[in-house]
């Protein structure tokens, strides 16, 4: 025991555990910081989980355009516990996006970004976008057909940058087209460049917590006054501050551990998303869609009016970043309590509802043609008249069914035609089909007069 005690004392002296590290761990924090303060550290725990599982995945992954897909199949179906490893990395990414988002909302709602924590907010804004960049490049590294088309869609988005768009797109793909150079670059970004910047910023973000202190829980009628705040904060800490470790940190570690266990549980139950087709841009019968956390953006692209969309794709993110960066300077002092800042709460609710709605729409994708819609069955047609039956066949053959539903069968992009015979006369139907209109193509050029008449006869029986 004597030896161990001596060795411990030696390490303590040489490493400065008692002198330097413990005072940092036990720095005083305001009391009463309850469970709402755990989301930032949960995001950090998710990041650590991503680092560890990411290192595990690189042991198995082949970062070349030719082999990445095959190695993903190996990881998902053959490697020992590879499916679990991939699943944890996938749900860990989801967890990190969620925790970063909730942490940011909490900081906004309690106005913790106000004096003197402006730089914490600003570094946090960059961390948010880095997290999203990691999430996007990560889903792309699966390098299945979804990954390849994600790269193309990203290139098209940056292509909307004025003047230099085409060059930026080319830079992103590593050339004029998808190829051997594309995946190498995304792999480098995802495993080296972005994590490097992320670690630096996380270190800076944490340093600022020590420098300016954890924000005290907001209280109605106790506004932030930059002139007196620091002095007031120090006095408060002296009077009622508690050591961070373990009196505040226990909640962080407990919540972080529960988060990680939940992620592992999800990975065990659901596993990672199944791979789509191989990464050949010539395999076009595919239905590219991003992972859930980018579905709101995906949905937005389908719903924006075409004439302003290009501008929204460029100016939308630009203005959002500028607004977020400007926030702590526009609103630097005053009340922090959400009870005195109802518009901040209202705005947060709006953002959550907006994103949630877009997510649901993205999952449903009502704007996409249903290419797999089957021809209508006899029980739906409800007629033995050969013209009506022929019309129902044409309804599928000419692609009407991709976008229009009849009795629950077909796409939902256009109006439901189950009862269209009640709404429109044969003449109106004919005009509509020939000329198109709204969001419907004109079929006058492709339908013969005879087919048109048969189709209208079928539709007229839908009542």
């Amino acid at each position: 025991m004597g030896f161990l005690r001596k060795a411990g004392a030696w390490l303590d002296d040489r490493l400065g555990i008692s002198d330097t590290i413990m005072p940092i761990l036990q720095h005083p924090v305001p009391p009463g910081a309850k469970w709402s303060y755990v989301f930032g550290s949960a995001a950090l725990f998710c990041l650590l989980l991503q680092v560890v599982t990411g290192v595990g995945l690189t042991l198995l992954y082949q970062p070349t355009s030719a082999d990445a897909y095959k190695s993903l199949e190996f990881i998902s179906h053959k490697a020992v516990l590879g499916r679990l490893l991939r699943g944890v990395h996938y749900f860990g990414a989801s967890g990190m996006v969620v925790m970063v988002g909730v942490h940011m909302l909490r900081v906004y709602i309690t106005a913790s970004y106000k004096f003197p924590r402006e730089m914490s907010w600003i570094s946090g804004v960059f961390l948010l976008f880095l997290t999203l960049a990691m999430a996007f490049t990560g889903q792309l590294l699966r390098w299945d057909s979804n990954g390849v088309w994600s790269a193309v869609v990203a290139a098209e988005q940056v292509g909307r940058v004025p003047l230099v768009g085409t060059y930026v797109a080319r830079l992103l793909l590593g050339g004029d087209t998808i190829g051997g150079q594309s995946l190498s670059r995304f792999y480098s970004y995802h495993t080296l460049l972005f994590p490097g910047i992320l670690f630096g910023l996380v270190g800076f973000h944490l340093y600022l917590v020590l420098r300016n202190g954890v924000s005290e829980p907001a209280k109605v009628g106790r506004p932030v006054d930059p002139k007196t705040y620091r002095q007031w904060y120090q006095d408060m800490l002296k009077k009622v501050g508690v050591p961070f470790w373990p009196f505040a940190a226990w909640r962080d570690t407990v919540f972080g551990a529960v988060t990680i266990l939940a992620i592992i549980g999800l990975a065990l139950v659901f596993g990672p998303p199944e791979l789509t087709q191989p990464p050949s841009p010539s395999l076009i019968y595919t239905n590219p869609a991003p992972d859930w956390y980018l579905l709101p953006v995906f949905a937005l692209f389908a719903l924006l009016p075409a004439n302003i969309e290009s501008y929204v794709i460029f100016f939308g993110p630009l203005l959002s970043v500028l607004a977020l960066l400007a926030l702590p300077f526009v609103s630097n002092a005053g009340e922090r309590s959400p009870l005195r800042r109802p518009w901040a709460v209202f705005g947060s609710v709006c953002v959550v509802v907006f994103m949630g709605t877009l997510l649901l729409l993205g999952l449903k994708a009502p704007w996409s043609p249903h290419f797999d819609a089957k021809p209508l069955t006899a029980s739906i047609i409800r007629s033995t008249d050969p013209t009506v039956v022929h019309g129902a066949a044409l309804f599928a053959e000419k692609g009407c069914i991709y976008c229009h539903q009849v009795a629950g069968h077909g796409g939902i992009r256009g109006p439901n035609l189950t009862l269209v015979g009640r709404r429109l006369t044969p003449g109106e139907l004919r005009i509509r089909i020939v000329n198109g209109g709204g969001n419907m193509p004109a079929f006058g050029g492709t339908l013969s007069q005879k087919d048109l008449a048969v189709l209208v006869t079928f539709l007229e029986t839908r009542k």
Partner: protein, 174 residues
């Protein structure tokens, strides 16, 4: 005076100034020198001119007049580790004995792969529902412009050849 002077003394101001400038200057120089090849690697796609080349996609006999077919071809300069990701595809239609038209499979909206629906006579995109007529013009949905076309030529030996091209990037002014 031969003994060491106090570095904080006012007389040492020029020396301090020099040492600061020397350190920062040398550091900047070394960092700049290193960054040249690193930034070159990052910007390589912009520094290299990418070639275009004619690729055979079939012979005249493969394409009946009036048919629209998906043709696959290799990009202009695949690297050894490209695998299948250097493949591209185009929709090739033979309009008459002598004329072909070839459309990019990339939707002009955000680049997703459009499919030719022969029954409807339309190109349709699965991502956001962009629809195009058979001539490639926009029929419905969000695309701000029509489908891009490839150049096609027929060689003397009846090979049908397609000129490879970059993935068409839609700009903000399109």
């Amino acid at each position: 005076m031969s003994e060491p002077t106090n570095p904080a003394a006012p007389a040492d101001e020029p020396r301090r100034d020099f040492l600061v400038k020397l350190s920062l200057g040398m550091g900047t120089l070394a960092a700049a020198a290193v960054s040249v090849p690193v930034v070159s690697a990052l910007l390589a796609p912009l520094l290299e001119k990418e070639p275009q080349t004619w690729r055979k996609v079939g012979t005249l006999a493969d394409f009946p007049v009036g048919s629209t077919q998906l043709v696959k071809f290799e990009n202009a300069d695949p690297v050894a580790w490209s695998g299948v990701s250097s493949q591209s595809a185009a929709w090739l239609r033979r309009d008459s004995e002598t004329t072909f038209v070839a459309f990019s499979v990339n939707c002009a909206h955000l680049g997703c792969p459009v499919r030719w629906e022969a029954g409807a006579g339309l190109f349709m995109c699965p991502c956001h529902g962009g629809i195009y007529y058979k001539d490639g013009s926009v029929a419905a949905g969000p695309p701000p412009r029509g489908l891009t076309q490839y150049r096609i030529r027929v060689a003397d030996n009846h090979d049908v050849e397609l000129l490879t091209a970059p993935i068409p990037i839609t700009n903000i002014t399109s």
